[in-house]
Amino acid sequence: MTSYRDAVRTALQTLLREDPRVFFMGEDVGRYGGPYAVSKGLQEEFGEERVRDTPLCESTFVGAGIGAALGGMRPIVEVMTVNFSLLALDQVVNNAAVMRHMSGGQFEVPIAVRMATGGGKQIAAQHSHSLENWYAHVPGIKVLAPATVQDAHDMLLAAVEDPDPVFVFEHQMLYGIEGPLDTESTPPSPWRAAIRRAGKDVSLIAYGGSVHKALTAAEELEKEGVRAEVVDLRSLRPLDRDTIIESVSRTHRAVVIDEAWKTGSLASEVSAILAEEAFYELDAPIARVCTVEVPIPYAKHLEEAAIPQVDRIVAAARRSVVGG
């Protein structure tokens, strides 16, 4: 068994070993070993040039990554958390996302950017938010959210191989989870959703950290005789509409779980896709389980109450199946 953290590190090692164009940079990724200990030991192995500690200037080191990608390198940039990445949003939205199109296809930005996202560690409103949907809104970039150990590894490889800018969101509660890691087989396409558990009564559609809560909810529902299917979106841009619609066409009920706030969320987007393209398949209103519209609070009981938990998913699924 391998941890999610080690799976990301293994992918980084493979990339740094196999491609001289690849380098890795970010705040405290080198000597410190990474804020989540993902890159521990990598600077010793690859040196300070290729595992590069940056000053605290998210906009400029992400922009420098974009420039290095334009210059023929394959940079992997780590931003400590999604909240900090807002300082780099100018470079992401105004440069990385538009460069290919605005130049009439002359330039490309093959950059991979990783960052931690999500709540659950009691680190309050400036370190716990889920803003993946801000990124997923923007054409020109791609967004991945690995929920499993295998995806944590495979998606980073795919992000670096891709000719377009790819943003990988790693939920901070997942770094310690363990699972099998296969580095030999050809991985599935990162751009397709996955059915993590098959069921026929209701589709629980989730991504990232919420996938595990949805799986636990499905186990609880099973005890009540409700067979829930769990769909892991995996790619947030592009969204795999086909898999979502196929699942709901089997179960006829949908609960969308998203750790972002409900307003303007990916859960809203998935719900709209279902309303537009699978309306006549639905036997019950679509339900969304999202974070309460509040800055994530510090106190444990408040944080737990703010973000989606298993009981809320179970309750939403139950309402969808039995009504009321």
């Binding site: 334009l70 100018d90 130049s103 002359q106």
Partner: protein, 325 residues
């Protein structure tokens, strides 16, 4: 003081300044005729900066420019027709009609764009230089930006990062005294912009940006020092914009008298006078250059007029390497 350059070099510098001015005068005319839309930022008055700088840089160097970049693009070798067609929004424009006046690009000429987020091009330049350094390329990345960009955090972050990592970036500040409509003294605490970079360990100098020969010399010296040391340097080019910020600007923030005063330093007129008094060229040479420029501009307009519109069906092309749908 004599110019101390050859006749050929003098004529090339003059030729490029006149080419830019005539192309832009025609652009303004076509804007009034609604052939060109959106924003159009003219470089008129500042030609000596782009011409002097680009004549000092090597063909293989990287160029990152701003939204006031018609001149840089033209001198770099993007054909006038492709620039004009881009302003028209035609498919035969240098960015396929997707960028417009502010976003001219050329991969083969290492012209990394026309950037319209003030300060946003600086981190890109730092990254291009980082790529070169890591690959062992002896190239300079020349990054143009205005005085307004020095207010931005990315300016300070980029100087720090380039100095910290010893990257071959030449920061070229085209100080035209206004951040859009806000005068230098009203937008920076220390209006001597060249005082700032040494705080980050970046050597800094200033030059009269209305004097094309002075610009060429200064940029050449700075670029070769960047190349030798593989460390960043900063050069302020003191210039002035004769026209409005863009075509929407009523110029309420400066007086006509001030503009007229600066027009006495017109880089083209001044150079023509000096060149003739030094015996480098004659009025007949100037007339020949003007005739060539007029022909080039007329052909550029014709190229743009004859160009096709990109079909709406292929609008989303180039959003990604491969279509996602």
């Amino acid at each position: 003081m004599t110019l101390d350059i050859s006749r050929d070099d003098a004529l090339e510098l003059l030729r490029d300044m006149i080419r830019i001015r005539r192309l832009e005068e025609k652009s303004a005319e076509l804007y009034a005729k609604q052939k060109i839309r959106g924003f159009l930022h003219l470089y008129i008055g500042e030609e000596a900066v782009g011409v002097g700088a680009l004549h000092a840089l090597r063909e293989d160097d990287n160029i990152v420019a701003t939204y006031r970049e018609h001149g840089h693009a033209l001198v770099r070798g993007i054909p006038a027709g492709e620039i004009m067609a881009e302003m028209y929004g035609k498919a035969n424009g240098c960015s396929g009609g997707r960028g417009g006046s502010m976003h001219l690009f050329s991969r083969e000429r290492r012209f990394f764009g026309g950037h319209a987020i003030v300060g946003g091009g600086l981190p890109i330049a730092v990254g291009l230089a980082l790529a070169d350094k890591m690959k062992g390329e002896m190239r300079v990345t020349a990054c143009f930006f205005g005085d307004g960009a020095t207010d931005e955090g990315e300016f300070h972050e980029s100087l720090n990062l380039a100095a910290l990592w010893k990257l071959p970036v030449l920061f070229l500040c085209e100080n035209n005294r206004y951040a859009m409509g806000t005068a230098l003294e009203r937008h920076v605490s220390d209006s001597d912009i060249a005082n700032n970079p040494p705080a980050y360990g970046v050597p800094s100098d200033s030059v009269n940006g209305m004097d094309v020969v002075a610009v060429q010399r200064a940029v050449h010296n700075e670029a070769e020092l960047v190349r030798e040391t593989s460390e960043p340097r900063f050069l302020e080019l003191r210039t002035y914009r004769f026209r409005a910020h863009s075509m929407y600007d009523a110029e309420l923030y400066r007086t006509k008298e001030e503009v007229e005063e600066y027009k006495k330093q017109d880089p083209i007129e001044g150079f023509q006078e000096r060149g003739q008094s030094d015996g480098l060229f004659t009025q007949a040479d100037i007339d020949a250059i003007e005739a060539d420029a007029a022909k080039e501009v007329a052909e550029a307009v014709e190229f743009a007029e004859q160009g096709d519109w990109e079909p709406v069906e292929t609008m989303t092309r180039h959003t990604y390497a491969r279509d996602l749908s």
